[in-house]
Every structure is written in structure tokens, then in C-alpha cells.
């Protein structure tokens, strides 16, 4: 073996991109999405209606915006469970500002800045102090929403400027809402960042082996800090859309969303242990979750029952391939 002298030619790829794609998680998930779509259209006569479908997108667009950034964060080996509480905090800040007459531009700025600040707070605790992100963000999850409760108690903020409603209720063209288009644009941006840039490559590297990444000259803490900032920022964006859509702020706004966002990310094929996953996967997972929620809703199945379906999908998508493996080997 070792006496072969001339260097051997090693092909770039073992299988073509197309062959690899066909076997990918994303294609499987897309199949599921199509099946659900077909099932829905048979199950309810109201399903195949452009406006109904457009309405359905609101079920997932705000969560998906956060899920994009969360996907990057989870691929890098960290997690942020405080995102829903950042929504509450940002929304409360915007509500308070609206009470003293802030205009739409100020409100948007406040939403984004609060999101960034909350993300920076998480980021400092995790990357500078070296604390485990799961505990830190369970803590800030209580802290951020707790601040909203301190400010609002059981009250609510209303009285947002009328043009503020555009972000959550406006349509850009025909049935395409502002939120849906924002979701689409963000999907493209996150796709490019994760899959087409050096920065995206370092995220995968850190998630697979942070020590080796650091030993290869990558500034691991800096990259992770940026990802926490980004996640906070996206929670701020989601807060703007959700607040605008609801037209009011209560401290319970977006309660439990962190788990739905994480579910969306994991369902999209991102490994919870970090190191792998794609944005297209998360996009399809967002559609799957939106379609399931909407379809069952048309059938008058209550939301809580859909959660069984989503919980089962979350475990099933990981368990089934492993069971299949075990069965084949035995």
C-alpha cells in the first residue's frame, strides 16, 4: 500500500450534489410538507384559498424569523431559550414608548435595540463569563419576562400609532403580507450567510469541534457572541411584527414560543448537539408546522392537540431513523 509513489488523484466529491440532495433530510421533509398540503386540501374545502393560505403564514413567520438565527446558534453548539422573553421585553419597551407618544420609526428602533441589548446580555454571560448557555438563558428567560411583569403587571399597553399596524397586518402585494415577504427575504439572507460565507463555515466548524476551531485560529467567543446578538435582534424583529399584529402588549406575549422555535429548528434537521443543519430545512419545517396548525385548525382541532402532533414529529424524526438502523442491524 505505502509503496505507491506518485500522488493519487482524489476526486472532489464522492457523489454528485444532486444525488446527495435526493437523500437529504430536507427532501424528505419537503415530501412530508407536500403530503400535508394535499391532505389538507382534501380535508377542508376552505384550504385551497389564496387568502386563507396567506392567513396561515402568520402561524409561523414570526417564529421562523427567530428560528433562522436560532439555527445558527444551535449549529454553533449553543442555545437561547430566552427568545420569547426578549419578545415580551421588547414589546413592553415599545408599548411604554408608545404611551409617551413615540412614532413608528422610534418604536421600530426601540424594538431592535432592546433585542440587541438582550442578546448582548446573554452573549456576555456565555462567551465572556463562560457559563453554560442553557442555564443562562433559562435565567434570562425569567428575568426578561419578569421585567415585563414588573412594568405591566396584569395590565396591557395599547394605543400604538395607526401606521405601526403595517408590520403585522399590512400587505405588500396581493395576498403577500409584509411579514411573509420579510420572512422570505430573511430566509435568503440567512441562507447566504450560513451556506455561502466564511462566517457560516466557521459556525459549522465551531459546532463540530470548538477546541479544534480555536486551535485553527478561529475566534470562537467572538463568533458565538455575534450569534447571540443576532438571535436577540431577530427576537426584536419578531416582537415588532407580533406587537403590530396584535395591536397590544401583555407580559404573557409570545409565551412558550422558545420551545416552538427550537422545535422548528430541530425538525428542520439541525442537530441539537451542534455542527449540522441547513436553512432550507428550517424553512420547510416552518411550512410544515404552519400547515399542520392551519390544517387542523380548519378541521376545528384545537391548538393543544396539534402540539401532540408536533411533539411526536420532533421525537419521531430522530427516533425513526435510529430504530430503522437498529432493526436492520439485528
Amino acid at each position: 500500500m505505502s509503496d505507491a509513489t506518485s500522488p493519487r488523484h482524489i476526486p472532489d466529491r464522492l457523489q454528485s450534489n444532486a444525488a446527495r440532495l435526493l437523500k437529504s433530510w430536507e427532501v424528505l421533509l419537503l415530501g412530508v410538507a407536500i403530503l400535508i398540503f394535499i391532505a389538507n386540501s382534501f380535508a377542508s374545502p376552505y384550504f385551497l384559498n389564496a387568502w386563507n393560505l396567506s392567513d396561515a403564514t402568520f402561524n409561523f413567520t414570526e417564529k421562523a424569523m427567530i428560528a433562522f438565527a436560532m439555527a445558527l446558534l444551535i449549529i454553533s453548539g449553543e442555545i437561547d431559550l430566552s427568545v420569547a422573553s426578549i419578545i415580551a421585553l421588547a414589546s413592553t419597551a415599545m408599548g411604554a414608548a408608545a404611551q409617551v407618544g413615540a412614532g413608528t420609526t422610534e418604536l421600530v428602533l426601540i424594538g431592535l435595540v432592546v433585542g440587541l441589548a438582550a442578546g448582548a446580555f446573554n452573549g456576555v454571560l456565555v462567551t465572556v463569563m463562560g457559563l453554560p448557555s442553557i442555564v443562562v438563558t433559562i435565567g434570562t428567560m425569567s428575568l426578561f419576562r419578569g421585567i415585563s411583569y414588573i412594568i405591566l403587571g396584569d395590565g396591557a399597553y395599547r394605543g400604538y400609532p395607526s401606521d405601526f399596524a403595517f408590520f403585522g397586518q399590512g400587505y405588500v402585494w396581493w395576498v403577500f403580507s409584509f411579514e411573509f415577504l420579510l420572512f422570505a427575504v430573511l430566509a435568503v439572507i440567512y441562507y447566504v450567510v450560513l451556506h455561502r460565507t466564511n462566517f457560516g463555515r466557521t459556525i459549522y466548524t465551531i459546532g463540530n469541534n470548538a477546541t479544534a476551531a480555536s486551535f485553527s485560529g478561529i475566534r470562537v467567543a467572538r463568533v458565538k457572541f455575534i450569534l447571540f446578538l443576532l438571535t436577540g435582534l431577530m427576537a426584536g424583529v419578531a416582537a415588532i411584527c407580533l406587537t403590530s399584529r396584535l395591536g397590544s402588549t401583555r407580559p404573557s406575549i409570545g409565551f412558550g414560543w422558545e420551545l416552538e422555535v427550537v422545535t422548528m429548528v430541530v425538525l428542520g434537521g439541525v442537530s441539537i448537539l451542534g455542527g449540522s443543519g441547513t436553512i432550507p430545512g428550517v424553512v420547510i419545517a416552518a411550512f410544515v408546522m404552519g400547515l399542520v396548525t392551519f390544517g387542523l385548525g380548519l378541521l376545528n382541532v384545537p391548538g393543544i392537540v396539534m402540539s401532540i402532533f408536533i411533539g411526536a414529529m420532533l421525537i419521531g424524526v430522530i427516533a425513526l431513523p435510529r430504530l430503522w438502523d437498529m432493526w436492520r442491524r439485528s
Binding site: L131, S142, G256, L259, L273, P302, I308, G311, R322
Partner: protein, 329 residues
């Protein structure tokens, strides 16, 4: 003794005493025995779940499904009681513990046999268990008037000055000291979480140990499910929503390391009591109860920062040995 005084438990106990002293300086009624007993009884569910969560976290896992498990078991018990009021409480208790343990075992099996990350497993089962409550109850409440006297009375029965619910918490906590200190399984929890590699060398099955941690956590969630529903005399889909995070918070505040293998039962008990005192003290000192969430969040962050600082890994000391040698030669 000196080692104990420097421990996290001593610091936490000290912080609690200071807190109690501050409160009692203005509101002496708070530290009256019957009020402290009430605070303890109020904290019992948190304490029970936190004890179960502790063994799970010790083995490097996490169980986010405990609150959903509690709610589902509670609903099953309440519906059973409503349908068959004659079933004795002891049978209900057995069903609650058994059902909870089965749900815990389901989590444990997925972690052990399929090696799915615990956070994913319990995130999934948390929504599944919660959804099943709706399926079996059709989203309807089981109210006090549908429950039998024996059913709702059991946890509230006062025995030697404390309600049965508090006694159960005390008994289970004592049992945990025994479980952790005196059984091979208890020590295995530490071994598996502290150094899984070495656990294999000691002949300990890592996955199986984690499985048993989930079963214990589930059984306690089930038990608490019945107690909760009986004490508040109501069962509905959303009871104890979000309680799993308070449970994890109690463990973290008590010094249980999320990285596994480190922490004590005493710490967990103190962590749970700390949260319980804060929760009960707020209305007394006339601070809006809405402060509670932010305070527990700040407490978690402080605790984890403190734990990390005291557990800084010691580096390899090469030189000191050389110097000690030089002194000897």
C-alpha cells in the same frame, strides 16, 4: 466543619437566613411557625419535582416534561375520582406514582436505547403529555364539587401540626438522602455525570443509570400531580404550565451543576426553599408578586455564575513539583 462553612449550601443557607431576618424585622408574622409551615407546604410540589430533577441533571440530562407529566397525572387522578369516587386514596396514589414513572420511563428509554439528546426528548414529550390532557378531558375542567372529600382532603389533613403534603415532601427528601448516600444507584448518578468514561471502567451502565433517573423524576412528577390537583381541588389542561423551569431554577440555585456530577440534595432543598420563601414573602413585604419572575431569573444567573467561579478547573501543576523537589534535594 470549616469545609461546610465554605460550601455553596452554607452560603445559600446564610442568604436565606439573612432574607428571613430582613423580612421578619418588619413583618415578624412571616417567621411565625404556622406561617413558615404554610410556606413549606406551598413549596412542597417544587421541592418534590426539584429532587427528581436533581438526579436527572446529575447524570448530565434534563427533564423538561415534569410539569406536563404532573398535569396529565393530576388530570387522570381527578377524572378517575370524578367517575369512581369510591376508589381509595391509596390506590390513587399508586396510580399517580405508577403513571408518572411510566412517562418518565418513556423519556428514559428514548435517551438510553435511542441516544436522543434529553432536551429534545423531553421537549417533545412535554408537548405530547400536555396535549393528551386535552384529548382525555376535552379541554374541560374537573372542579372541586366533582371530587370526593377523601380525594381533596388527603394532602390537607393536618398531622402533628403539618399537612400530609408537607410530610410527604419531608419523607421523600429524607428518602433522597438515603438514595443518594446509601445506594449504589445513588452513587452511580454522580459517577455517570462526573466522568462517564470512568463510569464504564467501574462497570456502570451509563444509559441505564440515566434511565433510572428519568423514572425517579417521572414518578415524583406523578405523585405531585395528584397532590397538586387535590390540594387546589381543580384540574385543567394548563395547570403548572412553565413550572419545569422553576424546577430547573431550584436545582441551579441549589448548586446542581448543569454539566452533571456535582451538587447535593441539601443544595436542591435549599434552592427550592429559597424560591418558596421569595414567592411567599413578596406579598407580605408589599412588593407586587409580579416581581417574582424577575427575581428568580436574577437568582438563577447569580447562582450559575457563582457555581462556575467556585468550580474553576485546576490546571496541571508541573513546576510546583519541581520546586518541592529542589527543596528536598
Amino acid at each position: 466543619m470549616i469545609a461546610f462553612l465554605k460550601s455553596r449550601e452554607a452560603i445559600l443557607a446564610g442568604a436565606m437566613l439573612v432574607l428571613l431576618a430582613l423580612i421578619s424585622s418588619r413583618f415578624p408574622g412571616f417567621v411565625a411557625p404556622d406561617n413558615l409551615a404554610r410556606v413549606f407546604t406551598d413549596t412542597s410540589p417544587l421541592l418534590l419535582l426539584a429532587l427528581g430533577q436533581t438526579v436527572v441533571i446529575l447524570t448530565r440530562c434534563i427533564d423538561l416534561s415534569v410539569a406536563a407529566n404532573l398535569a396529565l397525572t393530576g388530570m387522570v387522578c381527578a377524572m378517575l375520582n370524578a367517575a369512581m369516587p369510591g376508589v381509595p386514596v391509596i390506590v390513587i396514589l399508586a396510580i399517580a406514582v405508577g403513571l408518572g414513572a411510566i412517562m418518565g420511563a418513556f423519556n428514559g428509554l428514548l435517551v438510553w436505547k435511542l441516544a436522543i439528546p434529553p432536551i429534545v426528548v423531553t421537549l417533545g414529550t412535554m408537548t405530547i403529555y400536555r396535549g393528551i390532557i386535552f384529548l382525555i378531558s376535552n379541554g374541560e375542567w374537573v372542579n372541586a364539587h366533582e371530587m370526593s372529600k377523601a380525594f381533596t382532603g388527603f394532602p390537607r389533613t393536618v398531622f402533628l401540626g403539618l399537612p400530609v403534603m408537607a410530610w410527604i415532601a419531608i419523607a421523600i427528601a429524607s428518602g433522597f438522602f438515603l438514595l443518594i448516600a446509601r445506594t449504589p444507584l445513588g452513587r452511580s448518578f454522580y459517577a455517570v455525570g462526573g466522568n462517564p468514561h470512568a463510569a464504564v471502567y467501574a462497570g456502570i451502565d451509563v444509559g441505564k443509570t440515566q434511565f433510572w433517573a428519568f423514572v425517579i423524576s417521572g414518578a415524583l412528577a406523578g405523585l405531585t400531580g395528584y397532590l397538586w390537583v387535590a390540594r387546589y381541588a381543580v384540574a385543567y389542561v394548563d395547570i403548572a404550565a412553565g413550572f419545569e423551569l422553576e424546577v430547573v431554577a431550584a436545582c441551579v440555585i441549589g448548586g446542581i451543576s448543569i454539566a452533571g456530577g456535582a451538587g447535593t440534595i441539601l443544595g436542591t432543598i435549599l434552592g427550592a426553599l429559597f424560591l418558596g420563601i421569595v414567592k411567599n414573602a413578596l406579598p407580605v413585604v408589599d412588593i407586587s408578586p409580579f416581581w417574582q419572575m424577575a427575581i428568580s431569573g436574577a437568582a438563577i444567573i447569580t447562582a450559575v455564575a457563582f457555581n462556575a467561579r467556585s468550580a474553576k478547573a485546576k490546571g496541571r501543576i508541573i513546576l510546583r513539583r519541581a520546586q518541592a523537589h529542589g527543596a528536598q534535594a
